[in-house]
Amino acid sequence: MKRWLFTLALLASTAVQAHKPSDSYLQLKVEAKTISGEWDIALRDLEYAIGIDANGDGAISWGEVRAHRDDIMAYAMRGLKIEAGSESCSLSVSDLQIADHSDGAYAALILTGACATAPKRITVDYDLLFDLDPTHHGLLNLDFGGTQTAIFRPDLRRIEFHENGGTAWSTFLQYLHEGLWHVWTGYDHMLFLGGLMLPAVLRRTRHGWLPAPKLGPALLDTFRIATAFTIAHAFTLSLAAMGVISLPSRLVESLVAATVVFAGINNLFPMAYRGLWQLAFFFGLIHGAAIASALLELGLPSGQRVLALLAFNLGVEGAQLTIVGLVLPISFVFRYSPLYRRAVVILGSMVITGIGLIWFVQRAFAIHLISFGS
C-alpha cells in the first residue's frame, strides 16, 4: 500500500481546490446566415492535449502558441459543429489571439461561419477535452435573437437552440414576421388572392363586368374576402400546427393549386358571382392546412404556442391586407379603362389559371414541368 495514498485519505476532508477546473468559454452569435464568435480554451488544457510548450521550460510563450496555431485550430475545430436543421453550417477560425480569464491565459479562437439559410434553430455539438478530462465543461453564451446560455458536459454534448428562446414579445415579433413573410413569398397564396381580387373593383352583371361606382363597397367586399379567407385558414392552420389534424402534404398542395385554378377560371367563366367570401372561406380551409407546413417546420416554442400561433396568423392577415391596400386603389382608379378589364382581368386570370394548372399537375402527379417556386 502506497504511503501517500494514506495521506491522501487522511487529508481527504481537507481537500481544497486551489485552481479552477477546466472550462472553455464559447461565445456564438447567429445573425441571419452568419455565425461569428470567440472560443477561449485554456492554454494549460491545450498544453496537456497537444503540447505547446515546445522547449519544455514550463513557460508557454506567445511565440510557442503562434507556432502551434494550426494544431490548436485543428484540435479545437474537431470538437465543435453547428447544424441548422439537417445541414451543417461552415465554421472556421479566422484568427488566434489571447484572452485573460480569472485563472490565467486562454487561447482565443475567433470564429466565423455560415449556414445555407438563416436558421430558426441550430444544434451545437461540443466535444472538446472530454476524453482527457471528464470534468471539463464548455460554457456557451449564444446570441441567437436573444441571449441563451448552456453548459456542455460529457453527458450533454449536443444541445438544440431555437431562435429567440426568450421573451414573449420577441416570440410574438418573430412569428408575426414569419407569417408576413410566408404570404409575401408564397406565390400560390398571392395568386389565389390576386385571382379573387382582380375583379373586386368591378361588379359582375348579366352583361359582364362593370366598374363599381364607389371605392367604399369595393374595399368592404375585398376586406370580407380576405378576412373570411384568413379566419378559415387560421382555423385549419392552428389545428394542423397543434397536431390535431394531419393531412398528406401532396393532397393539400394539389388542392391549393386547384383553388388557384378555380379563382382564375371563375373570373373568365363566372361560376360564382356573389358571396365570394363564402368561397374564400372554404378555400381558406385548404390554404390553412398548407401554410401549417411552414409553421411545423419552424416549430412552436413550448410554453408560447398560443402566442406564436396568434402572431403567425396576424402576420398572414397583415400581409394579405397590405397587398389589398396596395393593389386595390390602383385598380379602382383604372376601373373604367377597357384595358384594365380586358388585359388585366382577362389576361391576368388566364395567366393565373395557367400557372395554377401547371402547379396542380406537378403536385398531384409529381411531374416536374417548370421551376417556379410556390
Binding site: F6, V16, L43
Partner: protein, 394 residues
C-alpha cells in the same frame, strides 16, 4: 454583487461571462502567457510516461490505476482539480459500473469526495468495504467522508477498525479527530499529544495532520494560547516538509484573524493568491486590518471573479467560502445565509456550522441556527466559537 443578480444566478437561468476581457495579440513572441510543469519535473515525467503507456493499452487495469494514482498524487499536492479529471479519464472503462475492480472503487471514491460528491463516495466505499472489510485505505477515506458529513460516531467506528494495519499515528489521529467532535475533545488531545511524543520527531504528513488537529481542538476548547502554540508547531512541520497545506493555512488564518493578528496572515498568504481559500483569508485579513487599499480591492475583485466562474460552471464546491465572502466582505447577509444553508446540506464540519450561525445572526433569523443546535446536541461537540455565536443569535 446585488441581491437581484445573485438571485438570478442561483436559479441558474442567466449567467454572463465573468471577468471577460477582449482578446488581444501579445506584444512579442517572448511574452510568457502561462506556467506549466517543466519537462524536467519528475512528477510530470512520471505521469507523461504512464500516459504514453496507457495510450497504447487503455483497457489495461494496472496501467490505468497507476496513472490515476500518479495523477491524484499530483492533484492532491497542487490542489488542482484537473488532475482529478485526468484520473477519472484513465478510469473511464470502469467508471460507470458498480462492479468496478476494488482499486477503481477506492480511487473513484477519492475523486468523488474531492468534488464534494460525498454520497457517491460513500456508495463506492460501502461497496468496497463489503467486498473487503480489511481494505484500510477505503476505511480511512470513509471515516473522513463520514466526519465531513457530520457523523463522527460512524467515523470513529471506522477508525477503530483500522487496527494494526496502519501506523499508530494515523489510526490515532483518525480516531481523535472523530472523538474530539463527540464531547471528548480533551481526551482526544491528550491521546494525540502522547502518540506524537512516542512517534519519531521527523516531519511527516501524518505528523502534520496530527498537529493541525491539536491546534483545532485547542481552538474549539477556547484555549487560545495552546492553540497558538499548536498552530505554530504545525506550520513549522509544514515548512520543513516543503509543502503548502491549504487546509492548515486556512484554519490558522481564521484563528489569527479572530485574534486580530491580521498582519501575520497577510505576510504569510500574500504570495498564495492562486489558492481560492487562501485568497479569501488574505482578503479578510486586509479587510480587518482596515486597509481598504488598492491591494484589497484587487483581491476582492479576484475573489468575485473566481466565485462567478465557479457558479457559471454550476459547481457547489465553494459554498462555504462564498458564504464567508458574502458575510464578511460583500455586506450581503441574506446571500450568505442562503449559501451557508445550502452548504450545510452536504457538509457538517465545525466551520460549516459557524458560518451558518453567523449568517443567521447577521440576518436576525434565529430559526436558521436551529439545525446547528440540534447537530451540536446530537454529537456533543464542544466549540467555544459556536457557543459564542449561538449566544449572539438569541
Amino acid at each position: 454583487m446585488r441581491p437581484i443578480h445573485s438571485a438570478f444566478i442561483s436559479i441558474g437561468l442567466i449567467f454572463s461571462f465573468n471577468a471577460y476581457s477582449a482578446p488581444y495579440v501579445p506584444q512579442s513572441d517572448a511574452e510568457i502567457l502561462a506556467r506549466v510543469p517543466t519537462r524536467l519535473d519528475p512528477e510530470a515525467r512520471a505521469l507523461a510516461a504512464l500516459r504514453q503507456q496507457l495510450g497504447k493499452a487503455p483497457q489495461n487495469l494496472d496501467t490505468a490505476v497507476s496513472y490515476a494514482e500518479e495523477a491524484l498524487k499530483i492533484g492532491h499536492a497542487r490542489s488542482d482539480p484537473r488532475y482529478y479529471g485526468y484520473a477519472e479519464a484513465a478510469l473511464a472503462p470502469w467508471w460507470a459500473t458498480d462492479e468496478a475492480p476494488q482499486r477503481v472503487l477506492v480511487l473513484r471514491a477519492t475523486i468523488h469526495q474531492f468534488f464534494h460528491a460525498f454520497d457517491a463516495a460513500r456508495t463506492d466505499l460501502d461497496r468496497a468495504l463489503a467486498r473487503n472489510p480489511g481494505d484500510s485505505q477505503a476505511r480511512l477515506i470513509r471515516a473522513t467522508v463520514l466526519q465531513v458529513q457530520g457523523h463522527p460516531d460512524k467515523a470513529l467506528a471506522d477508525c477503530e477498525q483500522l487496527g494494526a494495519q496502519v501506523e499508530a499515528l494515523i489510526s490515532t489521529t483518525c480516531a481523535s479527530s472523530a472523538s474530539s467532535l463527540m464531547g471528548r475533545a480533551k481526551r482526544a488531545d491528550a491521546l494525540l499529544g502522547f502518540v506524537l511524543d512516542q512517534s519519531k520527531p521527523n516531519a511527516t504528513d501524518a505528523r502534520l495532520w496530527a498537529e493541525t488537529l491539536r491546534a483545532e481542538i485547542a481552538e474549539r476548547l477556547g484555549q487560545t494560547t495552546d492553540a497558538q502554540a499548536a498552530y505554530r508547531r504545525a506550520l513549522a512541520t509544514m515548512d520543513s516538509l516543503g509543502v503548502t497545506d491549504a487546509y492548515l493555512l486556512a484554519a490558522w488564518a481564521d484563528f489569527s484573524i479572530r485574534h486580530r493578528q491580521n498582519n501575520a496572515v497577510i505576510e504569510r498568504l500574500k504570495g498564495l493568491t492562486d489558492i481560492d481559500n487562501l485568497l479569501l483569508r488574505l482578503t479578510l485579513a486586509e479587510h480587518a486590518a482596515s486597509g481598504h487599499n488598492e491591494t484589497f480591492v484587487q483581491h476582492k475583485n479576484m475573489l468575485d471573479a473566481r466565485f462567478a466562474a465557479a457558479r457559471q460552471r454550476g459547481d457547489a464546491v465553494h459554498l462555504r467560502e462564498e458564504a464567508m465572502y458574502q458575510l464578511h466582505l460583500n455586506s450581503n447577509p441574506p446571500s450568505a445565509l442562503r449559501l451557508a444553508q445550502q452548504n450545510w446540506k452536504t457538509q457538517h464540519e465545525p466551520i460549516d456550522a459557524l458560518v451558518l450561525v453567523e449568517a443567521a445572526q447577521a440576518t436576525h433569523q434565529t430559526d436558521a441556527a436551529t439545525p446547528v443546535q440540534e447537530w451540536m446536541h446530537e454529537t456533543g461537540i464542544e466549540d467555544e466559537r459556536l457557543n459564542a455565536a449561538l449566544g449572539a443569535v438569541k
